[in-house]
Amino acid sequence: MNPTNIIELQNVHYQIPSDNSILDIIKACDLRVQPDETIAIVGRSGSGKSTLLSIMAGLETSTSGQVTLLGQALNDCSEDQRAQIRAQQVGFIFQNFQLMPSMTALENILMPLELFQIEDAEQKALKALEQVGLANRANHRPAELSGGEQQRVAIARAFVTEPKVLFADEPTGNLDEETAEQIQSLLLELNKTLSTTLILVTHDNHFAQRCQRVYQLINGHLVEKTETAQ
């Protein structure tokens, strides 16, 4: 294991039982991610991209193989230990934004800060909103925001805890082309300015090409498509 790697996958397998057989979703995956890198994982629907992302983030455990996140072997951690790693250094962005409908934009960003009793929560949340260009929408609820704006709030929420690594599952999947472009730029810009490692799953080849490395999941195998994008 290389201590400088943010994420390291070694011979990772993931299987699920199906009727009378076992389905291999992920097969012998190996991956090493350096700090500040941007990685895109592409593949067909149902190829296991989101599963791989959740294994890397410690939301799910692999059937076999070694997963190391920020120097911690996830397979040896309990659920609470994995939660602790996520709490301190991981952020998430989802395709369907996952904002709490009854909370305002500001309150949604405040949520993780308050969850872990981070000081000056409100100032930090307001600053994050400003960074994503939604300072004037702080008191609007998700239903009052456009799809792009909702994803910006979700991005602000993900970055506000200053995570070392950010996982994004189809972050532009629900957005039109123009808005998707803006969100992609925002994500990559924040990755640069905040030195956050970005690992994303996407269908959008254009977005994937803007990342430093692109991997494709084919029949459960992770295959690197290109070395450098930008």
Partner: protein
């Protein structure tokens, strides 16, 4: 750690406050408010009603608690009572002859009950001076007399009454406190100072004297003293409590108290069902947020604390509102109660408020526990894909334990086991039935078409939810039907026990030679019945002598010491129910019919030979039947009815009863005084006992209890309707999603309304079937084992339950869903987005 927990508590409070401002948790809050308000109202009203009724009973007795004894009561008990803070009053009663002399030296003798009292006023209730004589306070030379003595002894204010060795002046006429058992002391009363009674040489070694120590105070003091007395009870003591002025009345009221407690419990369970459904609704709504927090790294412990704090806040906040609402409601109801209860004793609200508050806290935790556990255990992966939820049996045990605590808050420990068992059994049975109904729906869905198929598939989409809805609604309908049934039965029983023409006046001690004269005086009396009787004592059962000292039961001892009225009749009266009858007599002995309670007391069986001492003659009879007697009915009732035979010459006298119209406001001109006067002149020795006042009191108590039962029933009904509303909420989101889909693919308004309302009607009908099945089984069991009546199968009950279920749900569906049914797809989408 402590700092962390404090910070989490602050965060949870912030989140709670935020959600509260936005109307989140609304249905949970409403359900908890309903539960704690109901418990507060029921407990406070129940306690007020009980205390008012107790006060009324106490006023009838003149005290809260009375120790009666045939021997002087040790002064230490009076001192002890006073140390407990109780008010005390001593009295001594003796039956003696009084001699009245008027100005013209005319003399008149009368058997009276002389009562020496340590204080003139009773401890409870007021002395009721009568205007026939000028009223003055008691002195060492004066007495008060009961009004009927004035006509019986033909006395006036200047008359002198000789009692024992002393002559007394008349200080006035007073209506005594009315005893629940009027037959126990039929001699008219005279009151005097207790010290005077001791001086007039009436109390001798062989006198039949009754000593009484009356006590009054608050409930706690009385209970404490009663406990002490019961632990140190002397064999010659008889203890009377205002809580059980008479056995029959006590039984009826016990049923009423149980009903009140059960209605409170029903209301809480009903609110619990609402919480169960509402918490599921919030769980579905919050699932993603929970998963999100887990994904962000919230640990199990953090999640537990954050949500436990929030739930506790909801419970605390809602319970506080609930008890306030409940208490305000009791304040609003109090003026109306005053119309029904005189005197109205408003109970101390603190216990009701505390029980209401803790019930609110507990009901939320009991019924939200499962959802709470599922919520905090939401897997973080839920954020990306749905994963099945695992339920752990331990959580059911925790819910069950909380339910036990909740029920123990509301009911006596004795009843808990049966009630909890009942609830568990019914819940299981309801659950099994709901699974069966669900399978039927799936079967129907396979063979149906068009909009009906869509309606069914919408219902069966979330089987777990449908099961919870069916069980909850079924339980609510079942509780309501059972309460309707029990309430109806309770009220009917009470009405039947004292019908309109119940005899309310008795004429005793009519000698055979006076019978025709008395009949003549009573010619116009309504519903008159007579019974020939003798006075006698049971001395042997199957040749075995019954000795007082062998009896452990006080009642048995008393019955053996005194002569009882024994009816002499060929047939058992119609108002008695024969519970056992000897098929063929085994001896030539004449027959005797024995009252059920007495038979049980002395272990008397059919065919036993009983020997009585009747005016010195020892006569044997064979037990031919055992009868059930309603002592409270005021009919002519006897422990024993012996068969008249020509060979046995018995010293017969007659007992009559009849119905007199309502007591007139001016008691001096009342028909009873007129009859007393006529009987005293024409047939000396014949006694008239008017029990109209007592009957009015009993009827009052029954009316009050009926009122309380009906009021609480109505309250539970309202709470139940609240639950039914919540039941529709749980599936709101998924229902609206379906409608949006139907609208999107071009379904017309008419079709969507048809599908929407069919879901409600179907759910209501199914819940109705469940409720009817269980209500039917329960009612059959109650008929068979509790009321001992013929069990009946009632198709009307089924029909009513199904129709009520359908209509209620249709109504609720129309009220809650109508606006959504009319909404455009765009508005429906907006609704879904914002929720």
């Amino acid at each position: 750690m402590i700092k962390n927990v404090t910070l989490e508590a602050i965060t949870a409070s912030k989140w709670f406050y935020r959600s509260l401002k936005k109307g989140d948790w609304l249905w949970l809050i409403i359900a908890v408010i309903i539960a704690s308000a109901t418990v507060t109202v029921v407990k406070q009203l129940g306690e007020t009603v009980q205390q008012s009724m107790l006060r009324k009973a106490a006023e009838s007795m003149g005290a809260d608690y009375v120790i009666k004894s045939s021997r002087p009561i040790d002064i230490k008990w009076q001192q002890q009572a006073e140390n407990f803070g109780l008010k005390t009053r001593q009295s001594i009663s003796i039956v003696t002859m009084a001699l009245a002399k008027d100005k013209n030296a005319q003399q008149q003798f009368q058997l009276v009950q002389l009562k020496g009292v340590s204080t003139p006023n009773p401890l409870r209730g007021k002395l009721a001076p009568n205007t026939i004589l000028p009223f003055n306070n008691l002195t060492s030379d004066s007495i008060w007399v009961e009004p009927k003595l004035i006509s019986l002894m033909r006395i006036n204010e200047s008359s002198l009454i000789t009692l024992g060795t002393k002559q007394f002046n008349l200080a006035g006429s007073v209506d005594g406190p009315q005893l629940i058992n009027p037959m126990a002391n039929f001699a008219p009363q005279i009151w005097m100072d207790i010290e005077q009674l001791k001086k007039i040489e009436l109390i001798g070694p062989g006198s039949r004297v009754s000593y009484e120590l009356s006590l009054a105070g608050n409930d706690q003091q009385i209970n404490r003293f009663a406990k002490l007395i019961e632990n140190n009870k002397e064999p010659h003591w008889q203890l009377l409590s205002a809580k059980a002025p008479s056995e029959d009345l006590g039984n009826s009221l016990d049923t009423a108290w149980l009903f009140l407690d059960l209605s409170a419990l029903s209301a809480v369970l009903v609110a619990g069902m609402s919480i169960l459904i509402a918490s599921r609704f919030y769980l579905t709504r919050w699932k993603n947020s929970m998963a999100l927090m887990r994904a962000f790294g919230a640990s199990n412990a953090t999640m537990t604390r954050l949500f436990a704090f929030q739930l506790t806040w909801i419970a605390f906040f809602s319970s506080l509102i609930g008890v306030t609402v409940g208490y305000l409601l009791t304040l609003l109801i109090a003026p109306y109660l005053a119309d029904y209860f005189t005197p109205l004793v408003i109970a101390n609200p603190t216990p009701a408020i505390l029980i209401g508050f803790f019930s609110g806290l507990l009901v939320l935790w009991t019924f939200a526990w499962q959802a709470f556990q599922t919520a905090i255990k939401t897997s973080p992966i839920q954020i990306l894909k749905s994963v099945p939820v695992q339920t752990h049996y331990i959580h059911w045990f925790i819910s069950f334990f909380l339910l036990l605590v909740l029920i123990s808050l509301m009911l006596d420990i004795d009843s808990i086991l049966w009630i909890v068992l009942g609830i568990i059994l019914i819940s299981f049975a309801l659950f099994a039935a709901s699974v069966l109904l669900l399978k039927t729906m799936l079967f129907l869905q396979r063979y149906s078409r068009g909009w009906f198929k869509i309606a069914l598939s919408n219902l069966t989409k979330e089987p777990g939810l449908v099961q919870i809805q069916l069980v909850s609604v079924g339980m609510v309908l079942f509780v309501l039907m059972l309460m309707t049934f029990v309430r109806q039965d309770l009220l009917q029983n009470w009405q039947a026990s004292l019908p309109e023409n119940t005899p309310n006046t008795f004429v005793m001690n009519i000698q055979p030679s006076q019978k025709a004269l008395v009949d003549n005086i009573l010619t116009n009396m309504q519903y008159k019945t007579d019974a020939p009787m003798v006075r006698g004592r049971l001395i042997k059962v199957n040749n075995q002598e019954l000795l007082v000292e062998q009896q452990s039961n006080e009642r048995a001892k008393r019955l053996l010491q005194r002569e009882a009225n024994i009816a002499v009749m060929a047939e058992v009266p119609k108002h008695n129910t024969t519970v056992a009858q000897l098929k063929e007599p085994s001896t030539e002995l004449p027959k005797v019919s024995v009252e059920e309670g007495i038979a049980e007391l002395f272990n008397i069986k059919l065919g036993d030979n009983l020997e009585f001492n009747i005016a010195g003659q020892k006569l044997e009879y064979q037990v031919n039947s055992i009868r059930k007697v309603q002592w409270q009915s005021f009919q002519l009732n006897f422990f024993f009815i012996i068969e008249p035979t020509l060979e046995r010459a018995l010293p017969l006298s007659y007992l009559s009863n009849f119905h007199l119209p309502k007591l007139s406001a001016d008691s001096n001109n009342d028909i009873a005084s007129e009859l007393t006067k006529q009987l005293a002149i024409t047939t000396p020795g014949v006694l008239l006992i008017d029990v109209r006042k007592i009957m009015l009191q009993i009827q009052d108590i029954m009316t009050q209890a009926s009122w309380a039962v009906s009021a609480l029933y109505a309250f539970t009904l309202l709470a139940s309707i609240g639950v039914l509303f919540t039941a529709t909420l749980a599936s709101q989101q998924s229902r609206i999603q379906n409608w949006l889909l139907l609208r999107t693919i071009g379904a017309q308004n008419k079709t969507i309304i048809k599908i929407g309302l069919t879901e409600f009607v179907f759910l209501g009908g199914l819940a109705g079937v469940l409720a009817a099945s269980f209500a039917q089984v329960s009612s059959l069991l109650i008929s068979q084992y509790l009321l001992k009546t013929e069990p009946t199968f009632s198709p009307a009950l089924w029909l009513a339950s199904i129709i009520i279920g359908c209509c209620l749900f249709l109504l609720i569906g129309l009220i809650t869903q109508w606006s959504y049914l009319q909404k455009s797809p765009q508005n429906l989408k907006r609704y879904l987005n914002s929720n």
